[in-house]
Subunit: 318 residues, 2 copies
């Protein structure tokens, strides 16, 4: 099945026959010049994300199935962060000659699984060759009510984050070290291989958040984006940052600073948002800081003193 | 300006300030987690196309400006072939270290030019690194009335093509040969560097075509796609295929078979469509064949005898 058209026929069958997909909104699916999707009468959220071999992932560290899953979930995460529900996707794959037929199928199975979990049904895409495996996911979504952007945080708002931070970066560090000894290590690896999806959180965000972003480049850097877009500053309490059971011990076993990793490690794909302080906001996320007048983000320790962190946040071209 | 965020700021200014773009449908533009676009209350046409260095282009043969232009126009061509008007786009760029700041700007200028010519305003995208320059364009469009697919050709329909065939493949051959002597050679190169856009044709298609496809992989192969999707066969008259002035002479100077190149050379980005025979269809395109009962495409010479062509049509993984 190395032939482009044979692969497209297989993909068409694979995605069109998936009984878990609600196809009501797909007017024309895979296999024509373009797909046609009915997004209803609301504005549509659109985003694109690219994962490149040797830049975003190493093939010896992750399976093709997990790669496919991660790629689509990471893109869908941007849609969730706008308080929208993923509804459809396009997947452009550039395959290297090293990708076997079985790996190709696994990649597609991972994408199909992510499509089911996020709701971003695959309606089309593109297949091409390349020297490095590259996955570009375009995800569409429908805003639950008004889209929540990065601009809208107000002094006095709390800063909240869903789930825990640092686990994905720790999972990657464990895989890279090739050392899986602590009790919780497999859970961190799993957390890195399989980022969370956010259907419930997106619904809650739409009614309470003043701004939101997904944590892809590290919480600190992503909070800086909110501050810049909202023309405000923020304080961030290092001791409030939520982490998973066993996180600190596993960090220390690898010689990693748990606070720096949680705030500047990438690929959490949790949602960082600001909101008026409320029980609802506390229920959706953990409060980790405050929006203030000014600009930039100050990290404070438990006594309120400023902390300097060694940055590990992922940034291209720097 | 090697920094990702500095580049995004520049892009935002570059695209948002473009006075030639009607931004009425853009609710949230470049710079947030995702863009938000109002496509109105019709179904939306969505397509994605990838151009990879050393697979789809060689950087020594084409400027970054032309690369950007071609990439977006090629993707928009799929929208036109559905009888829809391109309305917005997302551009994911994977840049190699060899791309200079000036080349990056030229790439963006080419994309901006294509966005103006097609109407596919750039509302967002993605920047990443890669070993090879890769441009992935997602284009959205609004159907003029009902989308025209590949399935719908009926026995008795004529087969038509807009513009001329073979010029782009000839232009590439001239560039590769490094030999630009004939009077028309620059025009062929220009035709390869700058594919046509199809606003007028898409409008006409929507009212008269029974099926349509854009000619990207060679006319013969693309007509086979229409036949397969429509469950019909076709005959194609080699002597009816339209070519540009000087085409035959320039082909012969390079030792190329003009008919084979016109029917199997790629990257024309013209529209191939079927329609009941009519003056309107003849006005939009040149009639090059007929839809018949059966399957597959037979190429006939001027006496009606079957012709075997050496295939040069572009096909991945074969």
């Amino acid at each position: 099945m190395r032939d482009e058209f044979a692969r497209i026929e297989w993909l068409k069958a694979r995605f069109d026959l998936d009984p878990n997909h609600d196809a009501n909104n797909v007017v024309v699916g895979i296999g024509d010049d373009a797909a046609v999707v009915d997004f209803g009468n609301r504005p549509t959220v659109v985003t694109v994300d690219t994962q490149v071999e040797e830049v975003h992932f190493r093939r010896d560290l992750i399976s093709c199935r997990d790669l496919g899953y991660r790629a689509l979930v990471a893109a869908a995460s941007d849609v969730s962060a706008m308080a929208a529900m993923p509804s459809a996707s396009l997947v452009a794959l550039s395959l290297s000659a090293a990708v076997t037929d079985d790996e190709f199928r696994e990649l597609i199975e991972g994408l199909a699984e992510a499509a089911r979990h996020t709701g971003a049904r695959v309606v089309g895409g593109n297949l091409s060759q390349a020297a490095s495996l590259t996955i570009t996911s375009t995800v569409f979504g429908s805003p639950i009510s008004k889209p929540i952007t990065r601009a809208g945080a107000r002094p006095g708002d709390g800063v909240y984050v869903t789930g825990t931070l640092g686990s994905a970066a720790l999972g990657l560090a464990i895989v890279q070290a090739g050392d899986r000894e602590a009790t919780h290590d497999e859970a961190f690896i799993e957390r890195w291989r399989r980022p969370p999806t956010h259907e419930r959180a997106a619904r809650a965000l739409s009614s309470l958040a003043t701004s939101a972003i997904d944590v892809s480049d590290g919480c600190l850097q992503d909070l800086e984006h909110i501050c810049a877009a909202s023309n405000v500053g923020a304080t961030l309490r290092a001791d409030s940052v939520p982490s998973a059971p066993g996180y600190r011990a596993s960090c220390e076993a690898l010689g990693l600073d748990p606070v720096a990793l949680a705030l500047t490690g990438g690929e959490d794909y949790e949602l960082l948002f600001t909101a008026a302080r409320s029980a609802e906001a506390e229920e959706l996320g953990t409060k980790i800081g405050d929006i203030i007048d000014g600009s930039g983000v100050q990290v404070l320790d438990e006594t309120g003193r400023a902390v300097e962190l060694a940055r590990t946040g992922f940034r291209h071209f720097s």
